[in-house]
Symmetry: C2
Subunit: 676 residues, 2 copies
Amino acid sequence: MKYSLILLFVAFISNAQIKKEQLDLMPWPQNINLSDGTFALSKNFKVNITGNPNPRIFTGATNFLRRLDGRTGLFFQQGFVTKINQDPTAELQINCVQSGKIGLYEDESYQLDIQSNKITINATSDLGALHALETLLQLLQNNSTSYYFPTAKITDLPRFTWRGLMIDVARHFQPIDVIKRNLDAMAAVKMNVFHWHLTDDQGWRIQIKKHPKLTDLASDGLFYTQEEIKSVVKYANDRGILVVPEIDVPGHASAILTAYPEIGSKITAISTNKIERNAGIFNPTLDPSNPKTYQLLSEIFDEVCPLFPGDYFHIGGDENEGKDWDSNPKIQEFKKKNKLVTNHDLQTHFTMQLVPMLKKHGKQLMGWEEIMTKDMSKNAIIHSWKGPNEGLPVGQSVANAAKNGYKTVLSNGFYIDLMQSVNDHYLNDPIPQNSTLTAEEKARILGGEATMWTELVSPMTLDSRIWPRTAAIAERLWSNQDVVDLNSMHKRLKNVSFRLEELGITHIRNKAVLLRNIANNQEIKALEDFSNICEPLKIYSRNKGGTEYQMYSPLTLFADACAPDASDALDFEAAVNLYLKTKNANNQLLVSSFLRKWIAINTDLVNLSSNAPLVQPILPLSKSLSDLSQQLLLVIENKQTPNAVLLNDLIKQCNSKDHADVELAVYTSLKKLIGA
Amino acid sequence: MKYSLILLFVAFISNAQIKKEQLDLMPWPQNINLSDGTFALSKNFKVNITGNPNPRIFTGATNFLRRLDGRTGLFFQQGFVTKINQDPTAELQINCVQSGKIGLYEDESYQLDIQSNKITINATSDLGALHALETLLQLLQNNSTSYYFPTAKITDLPRFTWRGLMIDVARHFQPIDVIKRNLDAMAAVKMNVFHWHLTDDQGWRIQIKKHPKLTDLASDGLFYTQEEIKSVVKYANDRGILVVPEIDVPGHASAILTAYPEIGSKITAISTNKIERNAGIFNPTLDPSNPKTYQLLSEIFDEVCPLFPGDYFHIGGDENEGKDWDSNPKIQEFKKKNKLVTNHDLQTHFTMQLVPMLKKHGKQLMGWEEIMTKDMSKNAIIHSWKGPNEGLPVGQSVANAAKNGYKTVLSNGFYIDLMQSVNDHYLNDPIPQNSTLTAEEKARILGGEATMWTELVSPMTLDSRIWPRTAAIAERLWSNQDVVDLNSMHKRLKNVSFRLEELGITHIRNKAVLLRNIANNQEIKALEDFSNICEPLKIYSRNKGGTEYQMYSPLTLFADACAPDASDALDFEAAVNLYLKTKNANNQLLVSSFLRKWIAINTDLVNLSSNAPLVQPILPLSKSLSDLSQQLLLVIENKQTPNAVLLNDLIKQCNSKDHADVELAVYTSLKKLIGA
């Protein structure tokens, strides 16, 4: 009894007013006003819906209840929300004026008003209401014994109408459940476009009933049935997400040409096409001079288009180098006959044939930026992907598309497969502050899209390559342009990352699975600690020339367990900065405790390796770090004067990219510490 | 260079001959002879298949390669095995005489011969070959730098032809991917029957195209389309597993009667039926006197039967108490008219109507043991489930069925939802050593089946309720009767449990997810340690009367993170036994280190709870254990003479089942230690 009273008291005093900075909202809302009160959650909490929403709000509200109940263990009495005005006295009232239509430019705004005894969500449609429910879940607070929401008024709406995530299911097939859990996660951070990259050199992943050869011969049995596609589209629709399919043509065609070699451009290729197992850019390309090419594509579109109710269809169009066009006299003749001077002209000719095939189904064509040539229809959406890695200045490609009169979506800078820091993506704005575009041109920039290419990504590791970084991209595309504080983003991202597990995202749990495999079921603590200062090699350097990893190579290695933004590396950076600013005992201890930890890790990893061959490749790197740490300790603790030659030699070892496909994420901070 | 030489040397010396006891095979093979050599694995390792197998062997061999490569990181050159004699010089040669047919009594034997430069699998069919590949995976050994198999000759075949797992998808729906990963796990321990409990009071989970009301009104939207069912059957078939569907009638009918109230037995029930949300035995029952009942069932069977190519169809038949029959004059009249004296007679009459409906599709009827009445067809398979909990002696029900001339399958003793120790299930033999049955009667006992009822099991926790315990059941059903050593089983099970992660089983990883949620994203170490001495309340006592948990109640609590056979409890038991036998300093330290750990855990949990309400319910139990541990430490370390009254009082607190739906699994050992 006494115990309970104490707890009640603690509960009472710890509901002190929450400050905005304490909230882990992401994307950050446009307007938020907190007041000095709380809404206490109890098992009596219920939801009621009024107005004229799309029925997806019932699924959304029921899922909301289950998630909140799973977090709090309150045993809510309300099981399912299934009809309008089911519970008029419910504490949470949701009112939607109209049914939301999945697509661009739809009103996604909402108002969320939390009072101490009542919560009200007002939204034009269920799409806004779903966003409001996600905000509400992110607002959940607790003291030692109970859960509550801070009283607040929030009005919110997105900055961009296209907040997308692309998943490449060709390089590594991703089963339906993997896609669905990522749709859940997208909805949790208010993203609204799922771009499904369904075909590529490495596989054809969608059933075409009229052409079963496509999956029989070019999928290794790994593809989606049309029923499965429909179930994903329905699932996305329930979460306010548009699905944009991509059938990538005329390049990236090894798979389609494995099934239909007769429409390939290479004259001698008939019997030699096969599913590509490596990564890279390959020659197999559709023959734009062959009527059969268009017939097949038209028949494919006739099946694919009706599966996707949205207005957009992505036809790829990227990375066609035209080598097989150049070497094929028939195609050269076709060019001449049609007065097509360059291969770009030829590709535009090809692409323009697809426009009516799609228009027939009410679809607008979208393609990677290569499709933007002088004769391309202005109705096409240009998907910008090139940037500094391709020799273009940041932002030029998307700006060019807008200037040329095209609607456009930015993916350059959102290539999450490059394993770069979340900071890079977060500060990548489709319309930067210093943009010189006119208002009209800016309006053509629909938003952005994170692209998850999967050359080195299995269903086991996909989530950790997408999340949590993509939540920060979601914020860039939703929130006000001036929401750019990196510290705030990192702090909030930590909690968002944790909460993603609720939706089935496996980025945290699967890391442990990989480490257990590497450790051969020994204790994984040392591996885990080491993984928190290592990051996978960046910008395609892991897969040397695209040939080290075949599509069936193991992705169960240490590099697969590591991820960008290694957590301890961030903390070490902060410690070094503090220490270099003020060399007091506290700051010295901050730094030296990391060094001691790394010395101990190396010892533990060596021990581990005696029964775990997969640990061996890591050892040279952990030894280098341990060696340097030992020297640095002596220096920092003033036991020895710095030996610059030795330190420089040791730190060079720590900059190695030759071991286990990872790099030490603490290298830069170590260098700073040494003053090198 | 020096480093590599040392490693090579270590590698060389540590390939010393493996002893049988070191192998973590499960189920243990019928015959195994190890010799003094090794087969070294390299990236050149390939598989070749000869003979006349079913094509499932290609999927099996390819999956085998990927798993082995994922474990070893060797980057095998062989990607896919797709045809006969694809690689005649491959190191692993698999020969199958004929194509395996999924079903009972099929020859599943295999011979596995591992020589230092060649591995040969010979099997009558691909079914045996698939088993051999699982054995081979379990044989994998390593030293510090490389992987190898011990040279050995194994001949193996199963003791029972029915080695089943039932999953109830009615109480809590389990998505397709959850089912598929469990099929993978079944195959890994050589189980061959998946019994799919598709309907119950809490939901109708299979699409019936002619009767969409069943899923529209009685599934909460959670059901399998027929396409999905087919994909599971195909997936099971590829793994040598028979799928037996269950449509449970005439009881457990709340869901079907929600859709079709007109065929219910309760006279006033027409508009009042609804999907059941609680657990238990409920009255809604089909009306056996109504021709419409049979018409509907016949139409349902006409759709369900063709989806499942196997010979068996489970019609449930259990737990019909007949209350609504007794109170319905029309049914009473029907009984009289048909000379049916008891409700058992009436149920038999009902069941016998189903026999020809199933026979039409080539199916034999199977049902829970209640269907075994004097007039029941001898072709029916009797599924034995009753035992001591239902007032019957162990083994009586299955023996009775066999004596009565029925083929029968044992599930009593394999009820894994009861949260009992693996020991109980492991020693539960369908034909015990002391069986007095004749050879003919014994032959009617087809085997056994673990039953995973899901009243308290979500997709998140399902795997941890099935695995690893079911691997021990698989051994009981496969291996020789005299394989009963509990220590050996526990030792091998530990490794099997680890290896199940490879197949996607989530029992280990999802525990961490649950604990992170409970800890509100604080450090989970203390919770994890405490969970390793706690077990969920057993034998239905958690869900008091079936009413504490509705089907939508949270299963994200501490009890859901805990599992039977709490690992530290087993270790503590061993420590106490040692100490009580020999009270030396070492053994004292063994015991006292546990006690100190538990004192520390309590402190940590109290700290954790200040920001984690879900930790609060655990505190009384951790405090009780901490209090007792403190007193015991004083006693054990001879600092204080035992105060029997105090100790008895404290240990009573440790026997509480009132907190967080768990019990302390160390209670019995503590009691022994005290000598109480």
